[in-house]
Symmetry: C2
Subunit: 145 residues, 2 copies
Amino acid sequence: MRVIDLERLEQQLKAHSYKLTRQRRAVLRVLATTDGRLDAARICEDARAECPEIGLTTVYRTLDILADIGALRRLHLPDGCHSYAPASPGHRHHLICVGCGRAVEFEGCDLTALVDSVASKTGFEVEGHWLQLMGRCPECQSKRK
Amino acid sequence: MRVIDLERLEQQLKAHSYKLTRQRRAVLRVLATTDGRLDAARICEDARAECPEIGLTTVYRTLDILADIGALRRLHLPDGCHSYAPASPGHRHHLICVGCGRAVEFEGCDLTALVDSVASKTGFEVEGHWLQLMGRCPECQSKRK
DNA sequence: CCCCTAATTGAACATGGTTTTCATTTAGTA
DNA sequence: TACTAAATGAAAACCATGTTCAATTAGGGG
């Protein structure tokens, strides 16, 4: 699963004719192999294991690109707004562990009834939604005792 | 409705034994009487109409307090993360206009089926969720033409 | 396979929003 | 009214992110 993630990310970059540099590869690898909460500084730190000369600037640029092409989603946590997780194509959301920050994707939200009702009550045209579930992953549940 | 909002906000501050200063009153009034997008700088600017000597520092401190006691919710917009809207008690969400930033509350999201299914698939204990709808308010719809 | 060029990069600096510090002021109680 | 802890504002510190620019490099064309 992880290897596929990494390859898919590389494919996506290529598909948009971005060059596959060592720095970008390192960032992709970090994204593909980490479960935890990932802000830019942390990604940079981890990426240096594979590419020691990478700078924070490049990490930000790479994250921007990946978010642009939809390969990455920004997660919005209560305590801060910029963690990142790789995103599968299609309409997905994330379930985030409040203990360790791990993010898991899920799909199949059906909000049409809610959206219709809110739209007719308010007169808004609803264009999209943004949903995240917060919880505790199995490991953090057992750690708790 | 607006007056009630204001009084309720003041009550909530008192209930947590925070002092009701002129500065805080000014911030509360701004929150209670504005529909638009409200970041800290904007709130400060507006608050100076009622309390010219208020500083940005105090605005931030007041917003933190209000968020802590649940009187205020932070809204997370695609382009930035810190706008604020007063929050009614109970379980509500916000519908946000992508044109002007106006935020409207709604309630009645029913996600139990989704939550159950995701919980059993992932092993997470789901503790809460976070939902925002994005759309276009009536005014911004007509402005568009 | 190597050259060429546009894309990419890193360091340093700029920026902008938020927080901290600290001396002064003030709300609310006795 | 006096007192005291809480609250305030200005300035400085801080931190994440963005920009600049000269140097480097990926990857296609020869």
